[in-house]
Structure formats: C-alpha cells, structure tokens
C-alpha cells in the first residue's frame, strides 16, 4: 500500500503483562514490528507455502512513536529487542513503585492476568482484582510520588464480562449489563468484571486525574496463542477421521474470532485517545461530548465478522490437511448431547474426574456469541485491519512451524 500510514504518538508506555500472548503483540506494535524487521525476533512461520504468506503487519497498521517498557512476573521469555524489561509483581505496592520510579510512564497498558486454564479462584482474585487496584493506585499517585505523572490507563478486560457462559449473545453492545454473582458461572469473568468496574470508576479520581478505559476483546487468536488454536489443532491432528466428522449442533451459530493484532491496535487507539482527552482536561478545553467520550468507557473489540463456529475449527484442520467435507459431517443435536454430557459428567464425577465432553463444551460449540463494535468504530475510529481468515492462518502457521522446529531439535 502506498497510502501514507497514520502515526500514533503514545509517549512513554509501560506494558504490564508484556510477556503474555496479547502483551507480546502490543509490545511488537509499539516497537513497529521487530518480529518482521529483526531476524532475531522473527516468529516461526512455514516457508514456501502460499497459504501462510501475507503482506507485512507493519505496512498495514499505523506507525507508532513510543518508548516501551515492560513489566511482568517473569520476563525471561517472549522478549523483543527495543523494549526495557522489568520483573515485578502487580499485587505488591513496593514492587510496582520501584518499576514506576524507573519507567515514569505516561501511559499504562494493563494486560496482565493469570491463564484461565490454570487459574484457581484465590489467584484469579488476587491478580485480577487486587493486582489491578494496586496498579491503578500506584499509577494514580496514591502510594506516593514516583517522580512522574501517569496520564492514561488502558485495561484489557474481556467480552465475557457480559456473558453468563450459557446464553446466546447476538450482536451485543456495551449497554448489556455485567453478569456477576449467581448468574455468572465463570469465576474468571467475575474477576474481570470487578476489575473493569474498579478501573472505570477510577477515571479522573486519582490525585493526578489519570483517565482510564477498558478494552473487551472476544475470541482472541493469532501467533503465540497457546490455548485455543493449540487445542483445536491438537484435536485435529490426533483425532480419528470418525471423531473429526462429529459436530455438536447444527453449525448455524455465529461466533466472534478476533485477531490478536487487531486487539493490540485497539489498545493503541484507546491509549492515543486517552492521552488526547487528558490534555484537553488539563488545558481546560472542556471535556469530550458524551457520544465521543473514551475515558471511563468500555469497548467491545472484535474482527466485526463473526463466522460459523465449526467453520473456524475446520479451517484450522484444513490447514494441517485434515479436511472434513460438509457432506461427511455428522451433526449431533444439542439437546441430545447436553444429556449425554450431563451423564458423562456425573459418572466421571464418581471417579473425581471431568470428561472431555461436558455440558459446558456442548453449549459453547452450539452457542451464538458475537458482539457489536459500533461504539469502538465511532469513538476510537477502530476497524479490524487483519481479516479473520488471515488471522486464523497466521495462528495455525505459527503452531505448525513451531512444532516442526521443536521436534527437529528433539531429533538432534
């Protein structure tokens, strides 16, 4: 593309959780994609296969101007050249004060969260709720002066905060209520909702008048995704032909899958808007109008193109040459599978185990779940840059090549 790209100036940025899946991509954006320009940071990607060849990310996302620092619990993995790394614990005031004294950020992007899969309840609460509160207060100057003033704070929430894990969500926007307490069956979402509320309520409440907002991504996938993509591919590689042909539900259910780079980009847009808002407030130009406000607001972020749930899965399998043709599919009705799942659960429960087929899995594969991004489109000027099909191919390509390299190493 020859069109001149936009420049986003973000100042001195601290990425909290910058060695995680999303965090790494945010750092890659801020540094203008060392993963594409610096061979030492290049990602595994299958060579000489047109299915995995795409134009560079750097040519399509804006140009970023930023000084980048990262804090994470462990920073030994997922590092990128050009950023400064600090080991730190967001649940500890002292640890955070130390990092803030060193970095003096203008903008904090908070993506840290324990992995959902390994998350036990006390840990989830401690990191997501208390950690976020501590981080906010340190950033806002409540725990004393660290030698600077943080202007803006972007929090990575989750689209699951409005979801009870059971209901369909059809083109849902931000006016949907947070689901908590008895209605919320997923503790992770409960803590994310608590934390989001704390962050948004903290908007302009700190001694330094820091402005805040939250980004709610849905169904993130992309390079370095170790959960969803990995699991689907594992099943695709190991399952028998018969099992692969089984489909829970009728596959008319649309589902949001969002490329991680687009989520990172939304954080950048939110950060830039917040910094501009902060300057407006500080220079007494009057705050933003309600329909353009970003501070104190949450934003759904998706690829804006939901696809049929099993299509995503089958597209991934097709990329590892396990093709399931539509006429081969065995469509198993949801009602039947829910009762089988329930039965499996109660039997396995006797042995203290969880079966592979649970009612939750059945419902998830049969559920319609997609969001409206109208608010982000209008207020953040957000549009998904990388389409879903490319995002899925990028995610698969990474896993395929990484596994090939890893098995090669073992062989040596």
């Amino acid at each position: 593309m020859s069109a001149k790209r936009r420049t986003l100036e973000l100042g001195n940025v601290l990425v909290v959780g910058g060695c995680g899946f999303l965090g790494w991509h945010i750092v890659d954006h801020l540094l203008n994609f060392p993963s594409e320009t610096d061979p030492s940071a290049a990602l595994p990607k299958p060579q000489d296969d047109a299915r995995f060849d795409f134009p560079t990310l750097g040519s399509r996302y804006p140009d970023y101007k930023a000084k980048v620092s990262v804090v994470d619990l462990r920073t030994s993995n997922n590092r990128l050249p050009g950023a400064t790394y600090y080991d730190g614990d967001i649940t500890s005031v002292d640890s955070m004060m130390e990092v803030f004294r060193a970095v003096k950020p203008d903008l904090v992007i908070h993506t840290a969260t324990p992995s959902v899969l390994e998350g036990n309840k006390p840990l989830l609460y401690k990191v997501n709720v208390e950690g976020t509160r501590t981080l906010l207060q340190v950033a806002g100057g409540e725990h004393g002066d660290w030698g600077g003033k943080c202007k803006a704070f972007v929090y990575t929430s989750s689209s699951s905060v409005v979801h009870d894990t059971q209901s369909d969500l059809i083109h849902v926007d931000e006016s949907w209520p947070l689901i908590r307490g008895k209605l919320q069956q997923e503790y992770y979402s409960e803590t994310k909702a608590d934390a989001e509320e704390i962050v948004l309520k903290y908007n302009r409440q700190s001694p330094t008048n820091m402005v805040t907002c939250a980004v709610r991504p849905a169904g993130i996938h992309g390079e370095k995704d170790t959960t969803v993509t990995h699991k689907i591919l594992e099943h695709g590689a190991n399952a028998s032909d018969t099992v692969l042909k089984m489909q829970l539900g009728n596959n008319d259910n649309l589902f949001d899958f969002t490329y991680v780079g687009n989520v990172a980009y939304a954080h950048m847009l939110a950060g830039a808007r917040l910094l501009a808002t902060y300057d407006r407030y500080e220079s007494n130009q009057g705050g933003p109008l309600d329909h353009e406000r970003v501070d104190g607001e949450a934003f759904n972020i998706t690829n804006d193109s939901p696809i049929y749930f099993w299509d995503a899965t089958r597209a991934m399998w097709a990329l590892i040459d396990r093709v399931v043709e539509p006429h081969e599919v065995w469509s198993l009705p949801e009602g039947l599978m829910l009762s089988i799942g329930g039965l499996a659960e109660s039997v396995m429960n006797l042995f203290g185990k969880t079966p592979r087929l649970t009612r939750r899995t059945v419902r998830y594969s049969c559920m319609t779940r997609y969001y409206s991004i109208e608010k982000a489109r209008v207020r953040l000027a957000y549009l998904p840059v990388i389409p879903v099909d490319e995002g899925i191919a990028r995610a698969v390509g990474y896993v395929v090549e990484k596994q090939r390299q890893d098995s090669g190493k073992k062989g040596l």
């Binding site: 059809i170 949907w176 209520p177 689901i179 209605l183 299509d311 995503a312 597209a315 399998w317 409206s372």
Partner: protein, 476 residues
C-alpha cells in the same frame, strides 16, 4: 418438460405444488391494472412488454399507476438499446452512432428501426418503436429527463464496450472491469429506477445519497446471471467471468469446462459467488428505503430470486454443463415471501445464506471468506431486526419483570383459578347426578343396607359369581 412431465414432477414434490397453489390463490396485486381505458399506443407497449420480458412483465404490471407506464417505457427503451447492441450483423460504424444517440430518438415522433437481422428475437420492438416514443412523450417531464439521462449513459457505455471489442478481445480482465461492465448493463438501471422512485415519493431520498446501494442492487442481479449462464455464454463465445478470478484456478478459460479440472472449476465458481454475495447486504439496506408496497415487490422479487439462484449454483458443477434454473415451486415460494415486508424477506435471505454456508467446504481456498460473507449478511439482518434487547438483559440481572411478563403471570394465575373453578363445578354436578340416581333407586326399593353389609364382609362380586364357584366345588 412438457405438461405431463411437469405434472408428474409436482406430484412427487407436493411442497412445491403447495407453493404454486398458494401464490396463485392468495397473491393479491397491490394495484390491479385497468386495461379498459388504455390507448392504442399503451396497448402496444404492454404487448411488447409481455413479448420481451419473461420475468419482469408480471411485476411491472402490478406497479402503482403513477409509475406503471414510466417503468414499462423505461424497460422497453433499454430493451431496444440492448437489441441493437446484441445484433452482431450490424456493422460497428452503424452501431456506434445509434447507441450513442439513442437518447435523442426518444423524442423523435415516429422513430423506428428496421436494420436488425431477422433472427434477432426482439426485432419487432424496434420496428414499431414509434409506440414507445409516443408514450415516452406523454410522461411527466421529470420522468422523461431521468430515462433520457440513463439511456444516454448506457448507450455510451455500450458503445465503449463495442469499440473495445472491435479493437481487441472484449473478455473481462480485472474485477474492476467486471464491476464496470455490470454497472453499465444493470447498475445504471438501478440508478434510473431509484431516481424514478424518489421522484414519485415512493422511496427515501437518502437512497440517492448512497449510490453504492442501488449500484449493488443491479450488480447482484447481473452477477447472478453471469454465474448461472456461464455455459450458455461460453457456447456463444462470450466471457464475462473476470480473468483476475478464473486465472487463480485454471490456466485457460476453456479448462473450466473440462472434467479433469472439476475441482478447480468448483473453486472458481465459489469465488464468483463470493464476489457476488458481497452485494447482498447493500441490497437489503436499499430495500429498507422503499416506501410503497408495489415498488418493494418490484425490487424484492428479483433479489430473492437472485440469492436463490446463487444458492442453486454455489459449488454446483451443473452450471458448467448446462443451464440450470430454480424450480417453479421455489419461484412461487420466493415471490410469496418477497411480497410481504422486509422482515419476511430478510428471513428468506437468512435461510438461503445458511443453505450456501452448509455447502461451503474447507478444501476451498476461499472457505473462510465465504463463511465471513455469510456471517456478514446474517449480522446485517440482526442490525435491522435485533433478536435481543439490552433492556431484557438488564432486567434479568436486576430480577425485574416487564409489564408484558407481569401480564402473562397474571393471566397464568387467572387461568389456574379458572381450571380449579371448572373442576369444582364438575365435582358438584357429579355429586348431584349420583345423589339423584341413588335417591331414585332407593325410592324404587333398592336395599343399600344389604349391599353395604355384603361389601364390608368382603363379598365384592355379585352373588351369582359365588353361586357358580359353589357349584364347581359341589361337583368335585
């Protein structure tokens, strides 16, 4: 298929027969045409409309009287233009000025054209074109201006296309050229019609501010025809599928028709459908801007037929071998669904979109892109007719109930008490009847005291039973 063939087919497809019957019995045209007072030239125009158009004549004749003649004349003018362009026997030197100046003949009294070869099927229309000219001049000046402008643009577009065909081959290279070609032959019609609708105040004036919408209406129809007619066009040595698309799948256009390239041809077919489906969303958006039932029907019927044809053609190898069509029953069902309102039409679109999605296969390189475009159509329908409301979600969280729910609960409670009342009443009636009968029996001398004694002593059967039992014992 002859009559017997048709009848046999319908006997085995009762659902289709049902659709046909429903359409024939229940469809009421929003405006019935009154042919009694037609002038001679009007009669001629409607005669040619029937002769030249297979699908359009019925819907045009149901249009609101305000637009009935303008649109009929508009159609005939374009058909005339088309007949000149299609006729390969007319030399380019004659054809070019004819096409470019066709807008002027519309106001020349008595103009007609006899230069078509005899086998040209709509030749007669041009031979008696003076009727069309006469009706054109009877129209409101505003309508005349619109039709003239579109005729001008289309005539020039066709002349450019012929000039290009004269110089080098006329096959379509890029997707941009493909869109442009479709724009000249169909998109412009969409523009003209939209201007007529808005002029007659049957359409939202905002439709003119978004030209992409009416352009999509035309392109969606034209692209459907181009996909469906691939074989027929190929046999006539015409190629409308853009090279930019087919060259991704085969090296030579002819290969699409060779059995050994079947897979490639199917993938090419699906990419063509993908390209066309990208207009579907805008078509629905356009239809939302129409304000008059007959105009809505006129626009909606061809659109639903188009998406149904697309569904029929999608990954269907038959299109490379012969001409395929949706069945008569399906057509009637679609017509019924397209003559109600936008909501019903959207459901039809969703049903057909899902049917396309069900045939989508992961071995197709465009598998996900097709899934995305189907999802987009469904999502768009959701934005016009949302199934979920934030207020309901809020209420669920707060535990509040809506007035509607409260009313329902009240009704349920009422129903319950009604049921109890009825059961009580029945009980009373039974007691009363039984009491009366027992009283009557007692009056006639029944001995309830004896009966009671027998029952309490355990003899539940009539005395004759015990007698028999006793006899059997006695014999032993």
């Amino acid at each position: 298929m002859g009559f017997i063939g048709n009848a046999a087919y319908l006997v085995f497809h009762p659902l289709q027969l049902r659709s046909i019957i429903q359409w024939k019995v229940w469809h009421n045209p929003p405006h019935e045409r009154d042919a009694k007072n037609d002038t001679e030239t009007q009669k001629q125009c409607f005669k040619f409309l029937d002769l030249t158009s297979r699908s359009f004549s019925a819907v045009i004749k149901e249009l609101h009287p305000e637009l009935l003649l303008p649109i009929c004349v508009f159609y005939l003018v374009l058909r005339g233009l088309d007949t000149i362009e299609d006729d390969t026997s007319i030399p380019f030197a004659t054809k070019e000025p004819l096409l470019r100046n066709f807008k002027d003949v519309l106001t020349q009294d008595g103009w007609n054209f006899t230069g078509n070869r005899p086998e040209e099927k709509d030749r007669e229309l041009l031979v008696q074109f003076q009727n069309v000219v006469a009706e054109f001049k009877n129209m409101k000046p505003a309508y005349q201006a619109i039709i003239k402008d579109i005729t001008d643009k289309m005539g020039n577009g066709m002349a450019d296309y012929c000039a290009k065909a004269e110089k080098d081959d006329a096959s379509v290279k890029t997707i941009e050229e493909y869109d442009l070609y479709c724009y000249y032959v169909a998109g412009l019609v969409g523009e003209g019609l939209t201007r007529l609708f808005v002029e007659a105040e049957f359409g939202n004036p905002a439709l003119l501010k978004r030209p992409k919408l009416h352009k999509s209406m035309g392109l969606f129809l034209q692209k459907t025809n181009i996909i469906r007619d691939i074989r027929e066009d190929f046999d006539d040595n015409r190629r409308f599928w853009p090279q930019e698309i087919w060259s991704k799948h085969v090296d030579n256009f002819e290969d699409l028709f060779k059995p050994e390239y079947k897979e490639a041809a199917l993938n090419c077919n699906s990419e063509m459908v993908l390209n066309a489906l990208e207009h579907a969303e805008e078509c629905l958006f356009y239809l939302a801007g129409l304000r008059e039932q007959s105009v809505f029907n006129f626009c909606a019927i061809p659109q639903s037929m188009a998406i149904a044809t697309m569904e029929l053609c999608f990954r269907n190898y038959d299109i490379f071998e012969r001409n395929i069509k949706i069945t008569k029953g399906q057509a009637c069902e679609l017509m019924t669904e397209s003559t109600q309102n936008l909501h019903v039409l959207c459901q039809t679109f969703r049903r057909l979109t899902r049917a396309i999605h069900k045939k989508n296969t992961p071995k197709d390189p465009n598998f996900l892109k097709i899934s995305i475009v189907c999802g987009k159509i469904e999502k768009f329908i959701e934005t016009i007719f949302p199934t979920q409301k934030a207020e309901d979600a809020q209420r669920r969280v707060t535990g509040e109930i809506t007035a509607e729910q409260a009313k329902k609960r009240e009704e349920d409670a009422e129903n319950k008490s009604d049921v109890y009342f009825l059961m009580g009443l029945m009980g009373i009636i039974i007691l009363f009847v039984a009491g009366t009968m027992m009283f009557a029996a007692w009056m006639l001398g029944a001995r309830f005291d004896l009966a009671w004694k027998e029952i309490t002593s355990g003899n539940l059967r009539p005395p004759s039973y015990y007698k028999e039992q006793g006899q059997i014992h006695g014999e032993l």
